[in-house]
Amino acid sequence: MSNPTLVVENLQTHFPTEKGIVKAVDGVSFEVGRGEVLGLVGESGSGKSITGFSILGLVDPPGKVVGGRILFQGRDLVGLPPHEMRKLRGHKIAMIFQDPMMTLNPVLSIGTQMVETVLAHENVSVKEARARARDTLGMVGIPSPEERLSAYPHQFSGGMRQRVAIAIALLHRPDLIIADEPTTALDVTIQSQILAQIQALSRDLGMALVWISHDLGVVAGLAHRIAVMYAGRVVESGPTDHVLDYPVHPYTIGLLQSVAANAPRGAPLRAIPGMAPSPLNRPSGCAFRTRCSFATPICENEPPLDDAGSMAWRCFHPQARRVA
């Protein structure tokens, strides 16, 4: 990639608490270019959502980005003044949230919520803003968009609400969209419709897309590249086919083996033993070593970043074997 839209380098987002510092994101790096989809995969608590919020500068206090760089079109977003950041949010960088039932304001009409987004970044008339809102609603497949503008969120189903949220994200044709598990809360049929639509839109509009998910199945069909997160770090990244077919990191292997569709019928599902470590009390060195069957004493050291071709990983015992 010659000129990636987004480069995240060694990002660290920490939450000081009474019990100590929670290192929610602790050295995450990845990049994503125009028209490309990056799948950011991991369990709950691995720091993937916080990574997304860090990029938009929306980490809830007392959380704070304490290290690393977030280069968006070559410009470092870390330490950008709030008013500069506000100009980028919703304009050049948009975000879609997980639960469509919660992301729209229940007491404001869809039209109001869309028009205000247009007016926040462009000096156009309300009429023009409304026309743009209507067209964008049509683009994401909402029937009779003109009438729907005056409707309220409770009059839409979950899938329709997520389409509205996507339309809001697309209003300014952003260069980057962060999607935080946007289909998790939806029915499977609606999920696939929305996936297909987002895929087409990101390709047609040339947007970079960071798709945060715990669902490898969804990411497999959508992403060009995958970055697997564990305990605040990216432990493995590479092209989707490569990561799914020849995973290197034992954690990725465990993750793939615990997908029901990958196991032979009737065979017991193979779960990763143990629990994700508490972010307050992570094992030193490789955080996965306490659950890893390949772990040796060397794993108590910090695993360096290794790479081969387009693959990169942090592990002393890289595997590279076919999982199925």
Partner: protein, 324 residues
């Protein structure tokens, strides 16, 4: 909507009917007004005549029956003391009380909402603590004591404001109000503040807890992700959501302001309905007490109706029914 209004009306009539029975029986039980009304040296014949003239010789049921019959013809009885229709007496005093209550209501919203927002947006700061402590004082110090302190500080020590009476009444757009003249305004300030203090505290607390509940919600974060300014998020997205509970409580409280302005009116010698009620109770002027209570009950019914209408204005989920 029509069904709603009809049901509401019949409920209201029932409430009025029941109240009239309770009030009538209650005031009958307090004592015989004849001892207060006629001179001590009146002959038994004069006494007998007065009793008959006022209809006090008949049984309670009979008296009540007459009262209801007259009330249905728009006559709530004549004051024993002033020999005027009691409803006229009340309506003569009502503007002064309504004015006081409206100004108190306005004060509690104008001061309560911004202070509550301010405290709620910066929880735990010195400012928040100060506002909260102040509101506890407003809640817990007895109203009459607050009134006396206000008089002591602003009238006696500082000499800034008059402590009794209503001052000159001017006329704006045909409405007679103290707000039209400087003298009226200065007379209004202390009683209005006294009456408002409790409600200011109440609105502060409601607003603060509303803000604290609403700010962490997803739709606020999504509004930030759209690039909206903090001002718009707070004044539109958050405020419109928290107004619903505030309107409920303030609506009910407005009724209380009107009905129970008695203490304030007594302290500041404000010529309103409350003072009339106290005087009438002291003189056992039954028709005025009954008429007063019926007027207040009607007022509460009207206010509750208005609050219900405001709800549907504020919350589209009520206005438009559940999801289509």
């Amino acid at each position: 909507m029509t069904v709603f209004i009809i049901r509401r009306l019949s409920q209201s009539l029932l409430v009025l009917f029941l109240t009239s029975i309770i009030v009538f029986a209650g005031i009958y039980a307090i004592g015989n007004p004849i001892d207060i009304l006629i001179a001590g040296d009146a002959t038994p014949a004069e006494r007998e005549q007065a009793i008959r003239a006022l209809g006090l010789d008949r049984s309670l049921i009979e008296q009540y029956g007459t009262f209801v019959w007259n009330a249905l013809h728009g006559d709530l009885g004549r004051s024993f003391v002033f020999n005027q229709p009691s409803i006229d007496l009340i309506f003569n005093r009502m503007p002064a009380t309504l004015e006081l209550a409206f100004v108190a209501l306005a004060l509690s919203l104008i001061l309560g909402i911004p202070l509550g927002l301010w405290a709620g947006l910066k929880p735990g700061t010195a400012l928040d603590e100060t506002v909260m402590t102040g509101s506890i004082l407003g809640f817990s110090l007895p109203n009459f004591w607050q009134g006396m302190m206000l008089i002591m500080i602003f009238s006696v020590w500082l000499g800034w404001l008059p402590s009794t009476g209503r001052g000159e009444v001017g006329s704006v757009l045909g409405i007679h109000t103290s707000l039209a003249t400087w003298s009226g305004l200065t007379h209004l300030i202390l009683p209005a503040v006294n009456l408002a203090l409790f409600n200011i505290s109440l609105v502060i607390r409601l607003t603060r807890s509303g803000v604290r509940e609403t700010m962490p919600l997803d739709f606020v974060k999504f509004a930030r992700a759209k690039g909206l300014s903090e001002r718009r998020i707070v004044s539109v997205h958050v405020l419109k959501n928290i107004l619903i509970p505030i309107v409920t409580v303030v609506g009910v409280e407005f009724g209380s302001l009107v009905a129970f302005a008695i203490v304030t009116e007594t302290i500041f010698a404000w010529p309103g309905m409350g003072k009339l009620l106290i005087d009438s109770i002291m003189r056992l002027d039954r028709p005025v007490v009954v008429a007063y209570l019926l007027v207040v009950v009607t007022l509460f019914i009207v206010i509750n109706f208005v609050v219900d209408l405001l709800y549907s204005l504020l919350d589209p989920r009520i206005r438009l029914g559940s999801a289509s």
